[in-house]
């Protein structure tokens, strides 16, 4: 059972294929004493994307956007209502058990570890359950213990571990059987800064060493900035952005800010729209302008007309960009009603 099984993978390099996938839930809501109203909720609404082997992808969106639902369909926990889904050429919901050998899953808020037993016991169970060859198991365990600094924790009952330690323990458990893809659902939720950094470093390392494909959902944009080369943004069940993190600024119609220090106080400087002065504080002024435009023209224009002493350009922070993106979508198209 070791090694790769001869599965036919779809298009070249596409390890995860998601094509027009949707998930519709029937929801019954109580109306009055006995009457119940049925309506449908589209948790995931016709999403398409592919992920190549070895990619690290961040999957973000507000609560209830459909992140977890997507992960659950990719792992075979939920059956899609429509569309086509393949992971390593396998249809997850139909061959969930076969797929399980090739994927690792970490649920940030649930553990796969045995609460009352020493950490190592949970790993021994994985060893047998996944039928990991002995040599491979020993090798993987040693490497994971080293990378995740678990050496002193192996004999400690899981219930005595801190949240950060437990998370590291869970991540190791998900990787013992050499999965080709690792799904992490909120892997840094509730962790302190040190633990978060450690988890992120580890994910980069695993990806570099084993070319493990990583797909993580998160609320913490630093997870994305520090781990993922690609980000997908989902809102109301629809994919609203898929690309490099850097590109998010443009799509989000984010604005950069030019901060200028003038010789003395002035009324707000005159700049061509859409640039505008957003704040004045003594001789310092803040000018917002579209992130997609170069700052040079604006700088020249201000320098020509005002006694410019100093300047700096601030990139929009990603959090603000995404918040703005959601806000705009909410304004444009009110909630997906059914």
């Amino acid at each position: 059972m070791s090694g790769r099984m001869g599965t036919t993978e779809g298009s070249e390099g596409a390890f995860i294929e998601v094509d027009g996938v949707e998930k519709v839930f029937d929801v019954r809501r109580r109306k009055g004493l006995l009457r119940r109203e049925r309506h449908q909720v589209r948790a995931v609404d016709s999403i398409s994307f592919t992920v190549a082997r070895g990619e690290m992808v961040g999957y973000i969106g507000p609560n209830g956007a459909g992140k977890s639902t997507t992960i659950k369909m990719l792992t075979g926990i939920l059956t899609p209502s429509g569309g086509r889904l393949r992971v390593a050429g396998i249809d997850p919901s139909r061959e969930r058990t076969r797929l399980a050998h090739r994927i690792g899953v970490v649920f940030g808020q649930r553990t796969t570890l045995w609460w009352d037993l020493p950490l190592i016991d949970s790993y021994k169970l994985m060893h047998r359950m996944y039928r990991i060859p002995d040599a491979r198991y020993r090798e993987n365990l040693a490497r994971l213990v080293e990378l995740l600094d678990l050496g002193d924790l192996l004999e400690v009952p899981v219930r005595q571990l801190s949240l950060g330690q437990r998370m590291r323990g869970d991540i190791a458990a998900a990787l013992l059987h050499d999965p080709e893809v690792l799904y992490l659902d909120e892997p840094t939720i509730g962790l302190d800064v040190v633990s978060k950094t450690r988890v992120r470093e580890f994910l980069r390392q695993v990806n570099a060493e084993r070319a493990t494909t990583v797909l993580l959902t998160t609320h913490d944009l630093q997870d994305i900035e520090q781990v993922c080369s690609r980000v997908m943004v989902i809102d109301h069940g629809r994919l609203v952005y898929d690309g490099a993190l850097a590109g998010l600024h443009e799509v989000g119609e984010g604005e950069r800010t030019l901060v200028v220090d003038l010789e003395r106080e002035f009324p707000p400087v005159e700049v061509p729209a859409p640039a505008r002065v957003v704040r004045v504080d003594g001789p310092r002024q803040w000018v917002a302008f579209p992130a997609s435009e170069p700052a040079a023209g604006l700088v020249t224009r201000i320098a020509e007309r005002y006694p410019l002493v100093d300047l700096s350009v601030r990139e929009p922070d990603i959090e603000a960009v995404i918040a703005q993106m959601y806000a705009e979508r909410a304004g444009r198209a009110p909630t997906q009603s059914s």
């Binding site: 839930f25 058990t97 808020q109 649930r110 553990t111 796969t112 045995w114 609460w115 009352d116």
Partner: protein, 267 residues
Amino acid sequence: MLEGLRAYRMIAGMWVRSGMTYRVSFVVTLFGNLVMTGLDFVGILLMFSQVDELAGWSLPEVAFLYAASVTSFGLAHLASGSMQQLGSRIRDGSFDVLLVRPVPVLAQVGGDRFSLRRLGRLAQGGAVLGWALVAADIDWTVSKVLLVPLMVVSGAAIFVAVFVAGAAFQIYAQDAAEVQNAFTYGGTTMLQYPPAVFGKDLVRGVTFVLPLAFVNWVPAAHVLGRPYPLALPGWVAFASPLVAAGCCALAGLAWRTGLRSYRSVGS
């Protein structure tokens, strides 16, 4: 199937070891279990201190019914893990964890929270069964000797089927644990008394609809040389394994259907 048994052993083993980390609690609850389930039988003893027979059945005969029911139920209870509380596993989201493992989910649920404390009920039932077999006036034949263990095992399988079907139902309705308890605990209590105590319609129901009568009523009637409930033909005493197999097949089907319709929780 073999894969399932292997997974069941692994998971159950982990839970046994987990349970052993609380030794005192283990001993106390094992003992408590023995006493609590024994109280049912004390109730029957008290009743017989006032009457000589119940619907024509003597104390050892009723004890035989009681013990067969308790032993079958005890075996099923031991083997069915957290099927009764599957709804709570689903509500807290931990059911998802079982679904991403490469072994059958039903085997994992069966082994889940496996607890040797449940041996208390089984030991108590077994002890009463031993006494009843000696004390009751039974005209032993080879077929009767064979029928007793067959009855206990088939009865356990019927109860397991009820547990599995109940677990499947809890995938739809996560707060349905009480409905299931009505059939399991309610069923096992009912089977402790002779069928003649109950109304005809109820007896028909547990014979033809939910065939709990095959756990002990029908085979016990044969062993004790009593008339069958509902005047069934003679061979039905040996039909329990078939009935059990049918129940298990239906329960398995219900489980598959339930699992396919699983909706998980919001996060």
